[in-house]
């Protein structure tokens, strides 16, 4: 792998792999809670954060991380308080993000391709400081998700049941949203805010086609996501195409392959089902 001799490619690889693991980890909960658009929404807020960073002359990625996490907490608060208008409230949050981004971008001196980098990612220009921020975020997200995994799974399955089981659903939901925000900002450096949500959703959707359990689906999604990032980087380097695009296109290709596999698999699954049903039937007799 001679292409990874270059410093910038090594940094791209590290940033890419951390993103590849973190995105499906957040994404699987986003998908099963049917909030696939939340990643895009948080991206809008991150956009405002980055541009705000340029206005203030402070490290934009860090400002984006802070602003997006606060935005995520605020969204969760509104979602909890005003269940009925939650959808509209979310939309208003997101539009405000874009509007502020536009305002900030005309106030600040944004470097040459800064705007393009935010929108479409600029993994090849990841700096040493970025790596620290990305790695730190990655460790935090992994740790928090490990700790809250079971609680989030129960909440995703049924929020009322989770609540009755003694889980503080408001707090847990807020913590999850803040982790999602952090991952959006990390992913923004890699594939850009327009595509970050796709890395949360597509590998999970591909894994779901194989119809496995929750942990197995997550493991598959992470594998698909890692393959997408590695494949995308190699393609990007060799074909001289922007990596954000090649990474996501690779993910889509994997999705399509799994779609075909799932179709071919139909027979296999049906026979598996049948044998399982026979087991249940014999089980019934014993238990009643």
């Amino acid at each position: 792998m001679e292409l990874f001799q270059y410093d910038f490619m090594q940094r791209a690889l590290i940033a890419g792999l951390i993103t590849a693991v973190a995105c499906p980890l957040i994404g699987i909960f986003v998908v099963v809670r049917r909030q696939a658009m939340i990643g895009d929404g948080l991206g809008h807020i991150a956009f405002a954060g980055v541009m705000g960073g340029y206005v203030l002359g402070v490290y934009p990625t860090a400002v984006a991380a802070l602003v997006t996490m606060l935005g995520a907490a605020a969204i969760e608060f509104v979602r909890h308080r005003h269940m009925r208008q939650a959808d509209t409230a979310l939309a208003i949050f997101f539009y405000s993000g874009i509007a502020l981004a536009v305002i900030f971008s005309s106030m600040a001196k944004v470097p040459g391709n800064g705007m393009i980098g935010v929108l479409f990612g600029s993994i090849l220009t990841v700096t040493g400081a970025d790596i620290w921020l990305i790695a730190g975020s990655g460790v935090l997200v992994l740790g928090v998700m490990h700790r809250y995994f079971d609680r989030l799974l129960l909440m995703a399955f049924d929020e009322d049941v989770a609540h009755v089981s003694g889980i503080n659903t408001g707090l847990t939901g807020t913590i999850f949203s803040m982790m999602a925000a952090l991952v959006v900002v990390v992913g923004m450096r890699v594939v850009g805010i327009l595509l970050v949500s796709s890395l949360m959703v597509i590998p999970v959707a591909a894994a779901q086609l194989l119809r496995r359990g929750f942990r197995a689906t997550l493991a598959l999604a992470v594998a698909f996501s890692v393959i997408s990032v590695l494949g995308g980087l190699v393609l990007s380097f060799n074909l001289d195409i922007a990596p954000g695009g090649t990474i996501v296109v690779t993910a889509v290709a994997i999705y399509l392959i799994m779609l075909v596999c799932a179709d071919l698999n139909v027979n296999f699954t049906l026979t598996r089902k049948k044998s399982a049903d026979t087991i249940v039937k014999s089980g019934h007799k014993n238990s009643y």
């Binding site: 699987i28 099963v32 700790r147 079971d150 609680r151 799974l153 129960l154 995703a156 399955f157 049924d158 009322d160 049941v161 609540h163 009755v164 089981s165 003694g166 889980i167 503080n168 894994a207 779901q208 119809r211 496995r212 359990g213 929750f214 942990r215 689906t217 089902k273 399982a276 087991i279 249940v280 089980g283 019934h284 014993n286 238990s287 009643y288």
Partner: protein, 241 residues
């Protein structure tokens, strides 16, 4: 094992008054069937007991403690109505769902080996042995209901609240499920409150029946209810005036 005391409770969703001045006590170890027409407030009563909604007036006590917030009541097993929205396409195996019963506030986590043992035991109990690795969304309605009961039981609850656990379940499976709940109630001493429209089936296994129709209009032994009710299982003769 918990007793329940609902004292002079009123509840409304906005302007929609659902319950007014309802009082109902359930002794520890009872199996109570709540029956009544659509919209009578049966699900609301379960939610009040679970602490998911709060009474506008009056108090709800479970095990002698006032229910303030669902968070406190880790020992209540709750099987909601219409959970099937969630199971369709949900990527989780039967084993994973049942193991969620062991997920509480995190304070009393069970080690993996122990968890597997408990899950297996619960699946045996509801007659789903061997289905551990099947996706829950790919089971039949009756099997899914039993998975949900197994999940609730895994938490080792003192009180089990079930909201229409046999809606969309065939006659035989429904009867078996209530039979199973009856056994759980007797053998494990768990207090059970089950809402159901399968009046004939549930009243066969429950020892008490509460009929809700504009308030509590009948509350007594199931044998008495069945006697009054003979031949007209789908008609609500009781109407509070």
């Amino acid at each position: 094992m918990f007793d329940i005391a609902i004292k002079n409770v009123s509840f409304a969703y906005g302007d929609n008054k659902v319950l007014s001045d309802l009082s109902l006590t359930v002794a520890a170890g009872d199996f109570v069937a709540i029956v009544g027409p659509n919209g009578a407030g049966k699900s609301t009563i379960l939610k009040l007991i679970a602490g998911l909604v709060r009474p506008a007036d009056g108090v709800v006590q479970v095990g002698g403690k006032v229910v303030r917030d669902a968070c406190y009541s880790c020992e209540i097993g709750y099987v909601p109505q219409h959970y099937a929205n969630n199971t369709a396409g949900f990527p989780a195996t039967v084993e994973e769902i049942v193991a969620l019963g062991l997920t509480s506030s995190g304070s009393k986590r069970v080690k993996r080996e122990g968890a597997r043992h408990i899950v297996k035991h619960m699946l045996d109990l509801v007659g789903l042995e061997g289905l551990n690795h099947r996706l829950v969304g790919e089971l039949s309605g009756g099997q899914q209901q039993r998975v949900m009961v197994a999940r609730a039981l895994a938490a080792n609850p003192g009180l089990l609240l079930l909201d229409e656990p046999t809606s969309g379940v065939d006659y035989e499976t429904g009867t078996k499920l209530y039979g199973l709940l009856g056994e759980i109630n007797r053998n494990l001493g768990i207090t059970i409150v089950a809402v159901s429209h399968d009046i004939d089936k549930v009243t066969r296994f429950a020892n008490k029946v509460a009929c809700i129709n504009n308030g509590l209009c009948f509350y007594g032994d199931s044998t008495e209810f069945r006697h009054n009710h003979a031949g007209a299982p789908h008609f609500f003769p009781y109407q509070k005036v």
